[in-house]
Symmetry: C2
Amino acid sequence: MPDDDILEKPFPGRRSALKRNILENALACFNELGVEATTIDTIKVRCGASVGAIYHHFGNKEGILSALFFCAQDNQRAKLTSALETAKTLKEAVHLIVKSYVDWVTSYPEWARFLFQARSAVAKGPHQQQLRERNIENYRELRELLFRLDSGANEIIQCQELLPSLIIGPAENFCRAWLSGRIQTSPLEYREQFAESAWRSIHR
Amino acid sequence: MPDDDILEKPFPGRRSALKRNILENALACFNELGVEATTIDTIKVRCGASVGAIYHHFGNKEGILSALFFCAQDNQRAKLTSALETAKTLKEAVHLIVKSYVDWVTSYPEWARFLFQARSAVAKGPHQQQLRERNIENYRELRELLFRLDSGANEIIQCQELLPSLIIGPAENFCRAWLSGRIQTSPLEYREQFAESAWRSIHR
DNA sequence: TTACTAAACAGAATATCATTCTGTAAAAGA
DNA sequence: TCTTTTACAGAATGATATTCTGTTTAGTAA
């Protein structure tokens, strides 16, 4: 059960068992029915909890949504950070960014699907500030890492704000299409190709 | 008012004036407050129509959403098709695809923002089949065009299902970041670069 | 013009759903 | 053991989407 580790870290132990159970079932509901179409009652029935319990733990529907969202995002980020620790060269780093992304999406397709469909809701909701700050910080860290590895060699193109889009754009677009069912072939098939292409597109 | 032409074509004339007015105001509400947070009453107040009128024209909230969505998508697609008519070579076509996309997003930022945030809702809702079919058809047409222009020259990489992601992925990712406010620089600044990069990433 | 029909509205009534509130049980800590 | 906090249960409330019934307006044919 690889999915468990996504919820286990932020909500550990027996005490949080119901919390994890609610989130797990809410995730399935959101993915199967869509965010708007899943009612609190749907979730309640599916996981056997009471309305009171749900609202006690998460405050409101948006609370469930953002809890799920940040769990997934944090896990994805943690995997990336851990992968990047081994990077010695700029090229290695770019490869690891792409591959770590593809690996995560294919390891946790349900979570990835949810990340895509919930982002805009979270971005408008009460946690928009939190989301904004995290994103800015994440992208800052990434820029610094790439800059550090480049360190004067100037292997890399100038426009820093372009880098993330060039590196992750194609893989992300393909993963979205795969998760939506429009494309059958797993992104894993093109792992190397995405990584190689990303490197070529920012290298000069 | 360039925005007008998006609604004018599908809902032309004086007869559809209220329809366009509702859609126009609904778009603003969705973008400012988010899809979930905008109520029918919000829209009603903003455009001065009655509940009855709104439901008469669109059936339900999802009806407004998908009407807006397909208007935007159709317009974007029409601009692309029209741009591609002048393409003589494969390289030209790739450039036009990217540039047409960037131009559309920067010309109609409100519509583009909406396309991003409404896609998942439409994909789950009652028009999912319609959306699916359009997408498949659109991608098929694109593949055929590229194949025709390549015609034996074999300038292009093998995996056809990879092409759209490699071509549009980076620009799309950047546009999303720009529309969300995370990036200040207009995608227009990097128009050439996105096009050139797209071509290099699929060329061999 | 007049009569007829269908579409376009208006607004009250209803139904569905998110959220709150009040109370009870369990667990933690002293 | 007593006290306090946390975890839950379910009824009550309030907001919101949707329906329904009636009225007006525009189109059409005589």
